[in-house]
Symmetry: C2
Subunit: 395 residues, 2 copies
């Protein structure tokens, strides 16, 4: 058998390994302080409660928990999530929500039902790498915009070319990778522009509930009332990522097509995990755990920024996220984070090249820094090492 790789599909030939997931091998070295992944703090996982709830689910509902489930997801879990959203100000029905195998599958399914090869998607510069990969896997072309204010003119050009995007991809709260949050005014502006050009909006909300400061800003889904917004949610950052459970909130007709597409993709999401998650929600354990996550990550963000202020050389800039797991560093223009990476690894500290998040290949002087995974002490030590590496590159 020769030339297996020649037989790959067009999209498979263009697929690249995730720069982030490939970096994670460095994190297996215990000497390395890793700011690279997007991992939650494992010491916040509610392991004892998980045992309690898992045993309860298996006792009460074991035969169903281990059987095939409905493609739409466990009905009780869907109802609980819908009620929770409606308590937060949404006005949705169980028909507007489907459980997916983590929000990465949400991105895959939204791509599957909307994108033909060559279709355009508008996204941020930078934007979440996993989303760019999902869109790329369907042959989409990404059009990056640097500021929300550039959206109107970008869509105007695309309209002239008869190349309007299928959707605008956004992460309004504590964006991955930048850590930046869209104001309500900007959300309304994006929706107005989306309406003007009649394009859909995908609102990715993995970090929304992990807010350290300030007030929650309305989701675009809540502001919109035309069925234009597709919201992606997940348990990964507010509960545990290992369950691989997320959900999509959208117009009923979109959910209906997502369910059809999901049948061909994995039939249904992990069932025992869904039933455990539902019981966690029902017992109030989920909502008890989130404040612990917020408090822990807020301290880590504060410690990290304090360390930046103390150790970073002149000319290095960083964002100050109001929530989430990441902040973004911009090095002086003349520097390349790639050169820094090799030095940093020798100093036993890892990060993700910001460049990976820019669909136009820019951002060579940027880096994404995760502050949730390591302890506060390690975060501070890591910043010291990173500052040392930057100084070495500057000289």
């Amino acid at each position: 058998m020769k030339d297996i790789t020649q037989r790959f599909s067009k999209t498979a030939k263009s697929m690249q390994r995730s720069a982030i997931r490939e970096l994670l091998k460095f994190t297996n070295n215990p000497d390395v302080i890793s700011f690279a992944g997007g991992f939650p703090a494992p010491d916040l996982f509610p392991i004892e409660k998980m045992k309690e709830v898992a045993c309860e689910v298996l006792d009460e509902d074991g035969a169903k928990a281990l059987q095939y489930g409905e493609t739409e997801g466990d009905l009780k879990l869907r109802k609980l999530l819908v009620e929770r959203y409606n308590r937060q100000g949404f006005n949705i029905d169980v028909k507007n929500l489907v459980i997916v195998t983590a929000s990465q599958q949400g991105l895959d399914l939204v791509s599957k039902i909307f994108l033909n090869r060559g279709d355009k998607v508008v996204c941020g510069l930078p934007s979440y790498l996993g989303a760019l990969q999902a869109f790329n896997a369907y042959g989409a072309n990404m059009i990056g915009i640097r500021y929300d204010a550039a959206l109107d003119s970008t869509l105007e050009v695309l309209q002239t070319l008869k190349e309007l995007p299928k959707f605008i991809y956004t992460i309004p709260d504590f964006q991955n990778p930048s850590g930046v949050t869209m104001s309500e005014a900007d959300r309304r502006m994006v929706l107005r522009i989306a309406e003007k050009y009649d394009v859909l909006v995908v609102e990715d909300c993995p970090y929304r509930e992990v807010r350290f400061d300030g007030e929650h800003i309305k989701t675009m889904y809540e502001i919109d009332n035309s069925g234009r917004v597709i919201l992606l949610g997940t348990f990964s950052k507010i509960f545990v990522p290992g369950f691989r459970l997320g959900w999509i909130v959208a117009h009923e007709k979109i959910i209906d097509k997502i369910v059809t597409a999901k049948q061909s993709v994995d039939l249904c999401s992990p069932v025992l995990d869904q039933k455990i998650a539902a019981k966690f929600l029902e017992k109030g354990y989920l909502d008890q755990n989130i404040p612990k996550i917020i408090e822990n990550y807020r301290r880590k963000r504060d410690g990290m920024i304090a360390a930046f202020e103390k150790y970073m050389p002149e000319g290095v800039q960083w964002t100050r996220p109001e929530g989430g797991l990441f902040l973004f560093i911009t090095l002086p223009d003349y520097m390349d984070a790639k050169d820094l990476f090799d030095i940093a690894i020798k100093e036993n500290v890892a990060f993700v090249l910001g460049n990976a998040f820019f669909c136009d290949g820019s951002g060579k002087n940027t880096m994404r820094i995760n502050f949730s995974y390591m302890s506060e002490e390690m975060n501070t030590e890591g910043v010291k090492r990173l500052a040392t590496a930057i100084r070495k590159l500057m000289n």
Copy 2:
């Protein structure tokens, strides 16, 4: 927002709900005896052992079990599966195996990395509906063959048209839906023909270990030594389907591309479930449970066939599977199983229209019957009701 459905991708527009999964709503009526699903018998799920193992995993490895995992799958689970295959006569390495979110995802990922729109796939008449859906979701055209012996001439025609398929899709052991098993001679023949025309073979093996009679026949993966065969395995029928865990065994270069594609699809499969499955394997619980499944399903098959012989009217034919979960009924030519379905539902018995499994639209007088899910008593009662419905349609 008008015309949401007009915005769907070409493949999404052509997607149809699974006839099987849509039928499952009938099974929610407790009065209906359902032969429709492909559900394992829930009373064979090892619930108590599951509790024991889940608690052990959470105690010993909780932080990792709830965290993101590697895209390739849990290394211990992969090693255990590789060792198990090698004890059965395979000669594979951990590089040849990737964990997927059930073998349905295996079908999706194989499609994703090989199929361009319009590519051909050769499959059986009939063949597994979920596979046809997965191929269809990438815009493939299915070419069905009724007998293995027709493969050579079919490929000859396709070669003349320069339309050779990307792969041949097979389910050699106790095929879904027919229940038929390919002989070793036929497997070797298919491989020789695949080699002659230089096409890949996808060997779907969900039922292989659930053999009631006779000896195991070598997999095509074992017979082949050219890297041409991609084998799909799953825990769904030998352990529990609710975990959504399967695997792909293939040439290292194919696995490598599958892993890249999987990053964009769900990052990794459910992690706690993988660690529980690994411990089940390690403790020998999996291999202790399989004989119970085999014995139970063998009795059910025997009881079902005895009931057919006793109750079915003249002119109705059925297969006698040596394993698996399904048998296939052929009604007299002039009958349409669709007409029968409406009568059968009034008799409180459900099945799947065989037609759904024929990519060429044929098979209108066929039905798939599952014998694993219901009790022996219900199976017999269901056959009685089905026979009554058939007689009503005959008159």
